[in-house]
Amino acid sequence: MNNLSAFDIIGPVMIGPSSSHTAGACRIGNLAKEIVDNKLKDVKIYFHGSFKETYRGHGTDKAIIGGLLGLKTDDSRIKNSFKLAEKEGFSFEFFPVDLDDVHPNTMKLEITDQEDIKTPIVASSIGGGNIIVTELNGTEVKLKGEYYTLITFHNDQPGLIAKISEILQIYNLNIAEMEVLRKEKGRQATAIINLDQKVEKNILQLLRDIPGIQSLKLVKPLV
């Protein structure tokens, strides 16, 4: 807590009433929108724990929809996000759920974009508006929206990670944190690579061209 800013104490400027249940929900929406990176068509939202019990009173439902529409945590339009979604032809539905051993402020999103590509996401609001995406496309991840993050889905094969880091090194991009996850040896794996710098489009293309990379996304940090 030594890098605590004066504006962590007086701030953030936000739409009330709760940093965890309102601002945090909005930021989960912002990050999910970044991850999907396409116009949204439909979303099914499953509220767990404290979200399930208090979502209406905290405006968690309005905040997550506002966040998915790209509204920031201090945008007064959050209160009217349902109407905004309607205007954009974006449908949504809420359900209660009991997920297993997860943070009390957790929600599961089933997002369908305009090309009918589905993206399931599980995310938690962990206090003070900070959030973490813990599951993406069925794979366990840890995404907080603090960095420029590369997310790969690739074949679990030797040398692939080395090739990624080689390209990053050539362009002087520093890896702040990195995690490689897989469900089963030799099958599909996921790498979450947090970078200190932005990655330009041409570099992204070079990374996508590495043999064995099935898909690769760049997620911008949340503001």
């Binding site: 004066a6 007086i10 905290h58 206090g127």
Partner: protein
Amino acid sequence: MEDFDKIEELIEIAEKNNISLAQVVINREIDLTEKSEEEVRDKMRYSLQVMRESIEKGLNEDVKSMSGLTGGDAKKVEKARKEGKSLTGDLFSRILANTLAVSELNAAMGKIVACPTAGSCGILPGSLITIAAENDFSDEEIIDALFVASGIGVVIAKQASVSGAAGGCQAECGSASSMTAAAITYLMGGSNEEVAAAAAIALKNLLGLVCDPVAGLVEVPCIKRNAAGSSNAVTAAEMALAGVKSVIPADEVIVAMKKVGDALPDSLKETSLAGLAATPTACKIKEDLLQNSL
């Protein structure tokens, strides 16, 4: 970077360099963020603007929370004041009305500045801005006072917590009240020791306050506890400015607050399992809200 972990250190840095408490906090922020003093002050100026807007909206618009439990109390206090029915005087009634206005707006999904949290967001603007307006202070002077409030909050967050889930309401409304008492005392020309005494007295008075929100919402009793936090901040500042000292130094009060928070059972730390949240009326409210939502 000249950082401080205690209020004592904050004062030491100010006296060693012959600068104000506000300047110590501003300098720390400049070093931390690598921004200019102007940029740092501008950011606080924006917070001040949002605080003022939140008072205006809360007082003048039709404010009703999502649950329907709260809203409209600021208007009642303001109306009584305007009709000359204030029990304790015009200024104090305005402080209460403005504090309630911001807290009610928060519950109604309005735009506020968390200070230190959304649940305690009414205390600092409701008290400080009202007193500053009464005494014709400039925005730059109010911004300085806000940095002092922030500096006290930084110390509390480092040594204890400003989260109700971690420390109970004493950590939210207690911290906000302590920050506010310090800011008012600073604004009114109090010495560094008087600022520290105000912070200490305010926090001492709310020690042990539990976080027991009805139906888990930031409404009951949070909104009225903001009003209590403001009245406590003004009480502490009034005493400190008169030269009343705190027998227990501010830094020791903060550590005591942390220990009291640790000793509180989880049922009284934002879980809504005890206290007011477990009363028959609260249980009925929760049941009704659940039936209407899912």
